[in-house]
């Protein structure tokens, strides 16, 4: 028996496979199409204080190797989230996997307040599934949104510190991929008291409808995800792992076990499946099975032993 347990900065995961924020709704939408026992965690869609309408339509375009999206973080606000959504998730999903809540806001204070509310809720039975916070400082699709927070290490540090002050939950910070060097950002998170990092968010991108001579997305630009970004994600995880001891939740084009194992070897403690779920909802299951199979073949008794295990 291969041990699949991992600890992501205090978040105990029964398996190293999670779902990526924004690709798995509020956790329950894929019931029936996926065997949830394979999931070490689900990550909820980005939540902020108040409800948010998101961008105009169209919000996505299919591209070779993936997807460009500009959903714009449409979401129910924190009230409805803790009152209805999380309890619903827990009621619907038997042995519900721990939930990582992805948060964002228009100001440092808003991030901190959302974190406070979640921490409060997590202490109640109705929302006990809430087990960690993922701070999204890198969504390319909301101008007012978190993007700028993730682009300046000093601002990032302030943000992480403020959120840290309001939560005892494991705090994961989700970083932007389009930087010349991960290190200052990693350090800003470390110094701010983050428990883990997650990467990568989508890569800024744009698709033009040449017949209409217009951007396909109403938001003009969006974020590239899926198969094609995987090699770029592996590089960033590798860089971050060499710069820090913080555990890393890696995502970006995980379609097969091979993709996840590359992430582990590059230094990730866990992986999240995102865009791949759209084409095959059972991706996470297949990925987990492939990981344990790999461990068996290579004589690893625990997935945790794969982390950073490059020769």
């Amino acid at each position: 028996m291969i041990s699949t347990k991992v600890n992501l900065g205090g978040l105990e995961m029964a398996t190293p496979v999670a779902t990526a924020s924004g690709t798995f709704g509020y956790g329950f939408e894929y019931l029936g199409a996926l065997d949830y026992t394979c999931l070490g965690a689900v990550t909820a869609k980005g939540i902020r204080l108040d409800p948010w309408p998101g961008n105009a339509m169209p919000r996505h375009a299919e591209v070779p190797g993936g997807l460009v999206n500009a959903i714009g973080l449409q979401g129910t606000g924190i009230d409805r989230f803790v009152d209805i959504t999380v309890p619903h998730y827990m009621a619907q999903v038997k042995d519900a996997p721990p939930m990582i809540v992805n948060i964002w806001g228009g100001s440092v204070d808003e991030y901190a307040e959302v974190a406070r509310r979640l921490t409060e809720a997590a202490a109640t039975d109705e929302c006990a599934a809430i087990k960690a916070i993922e701070c999204n400082v890198s969504c390319p699709n909301v101008k007012e949104g978190g993007h700028t927070f993730g682009q300046d290490p000093a601002v990032l540090n302030r943000l992480v510190s403020a959120v840290r002050a309001k939560t005892t939950l494991p705090l994961i910070v989700k970083l932007a991929p389009n930087v010349p060097d991960m290190r200052p950002y990693v350090k800003a998170c470390e110094d701010g008291g983050a428990d883990a990092l997650s990467m990568i968010n989508t890569i800024p991108a744009m698709v033009i409808d040449i017949e209409r001579r217009r951007p396909v997305l109403a938001n003009v630009t969006g974020g590239l995800s899926g198969r094609g970004i995987h090699p770029a994600a592996v590089k960033l995880v590798y860089d971050a792992h060499r710069a820090t001891k913080l555990p890393i939740l890696a995502m970006g084009g995980v379609y097969e076990a091979k993709d996840a194992i590359e992430f582990f070897l590059a230094g990730a403690t866990a992986v999240a499946v995102g865009t791949a779920t759209f084409s095959d909802p059972s991706t996470a299951r297949k990925v987990l099975d492939g990981i344990t199979d790999y461990c068996e073949r290579h004589g690893f008794s625990s997935v945790a032993d794969l982390v950073g295990a490059l020769e």
């Binding site: 798995f24 709704g25 939408e29 894929y30 339509m57 169209p58 449409q74 094609g228």
Partner: protein
């Protein structure tokens, strides 16, 4: 909801650019209701390709039938499916039509929009509803789908084409308006059920709202997940930005907000 590995039983061209694909998927077939849709993985596309959503033309005897128009990359690739091939089909998805109707059921369809109306018509007929009239429109006669199947169900079918090659020359709302006038004159009740291109749907919704009748409008929005997880498929409604794939695809005409 389940992701069925469905075997293709039949795949035939039905006029110009349209094809009928019959799949063997007993569990899914039993679970589907009229107006719901399925999300299909096109086998020939690369693994990272998105699924394609299709309304259900019919679901019975363990089979699920879709009727589709070849319009782009995905549907072209779907053409290659041969009997015996296995296709992954996620469903049942979304909220469909109510299978009940107070008064005459007026079904209004354009192009492949006729597909869910056929399933609805059969269900209404099966549940004993007598007065079902279908208004079917298209550019030209080859765009008028499922006419024989509907007639075989005992549905009163009225046609309209832009070029006059079949039925009334004009829009599908022309014969519909005639019928609405007649019903108003006779003081009879009715409900509207529609699926097709946006301008047609808007026209039908306006008529429902204008007459105070119930209107059930099936919207066609670009989708990613099909299950409510991604928020790609927004339709503006009185409740805000609604997801077409779970809050729809069938919306109440009174709830829709047109831009």
């Amino acid at each position: 909801m389940l992701d069925a590995a469905a075997k293709a039983l039949e795949h035939v061209e039905i006029g110009a650019d349209y094809r009928r694909l019959v799949l063997e998927a007993p569990q899914l077939s039993a679970a589907l209701a009229p107006g719901q849709f399925v999300h299909v993985r096109v086998p020939a596309l690369e693994t990272s390709a998105l699924r394609r959503p299709f309304s259900v033309f019919d679901a019975s005897e363990g089979r699920v039938t879709v009727l589709y128009k070849t319009v782009g990359r995905g549907t072209s690739a779907l053409n290659g499916v041969k009997p015996g091939d296995v296709v992954k089909v996620l469903g049942p998805l979304g909220h469909g039509f109510p299978v009940e109707c107070d008064g005459e059921a007026l079904l209004v369809g354009g192009g492949y929009g006729v597909a869910p109306l056929h399933f609805l018509a059969r269900a209404l007929k099966t549940s004993g509803h007598r007065d079902v009239v279908a208004f079917i429109g298209g550019r030209t006669s080859s765009d008028l789908l499922a006419v024989d199947e509907l007639r075989a169900l005992g549905v009163d079918v009225r046609l309209a084409t832009n070029d006059g090659s079949a039925g009334v020359k004009g829009l599908v709302t022309d014969p519909l308006d005639d019928e609405l006038a007649r019903l108003r004159e006779e003081g009879r009740r009715f409900e509207l059920f529609a699926c097709g291109p946006d301008p047609m749907l808007k026209a039908v919704a306006m008529r429902a709202n204008g007459t105070g009748a119930k209107g059930w409008i099936s919207m066609d929005r670009h989708m990613i997940c099909g299950v409510g997880a991604c928020y790609a498929c927004i339709q503006k409604t009185v409740r805000g930005n609604s997801r077409c794939c779970v809050e729809g695809p069938v919306f109440r005409a009174a709830d829709l907000v047109w831009e």
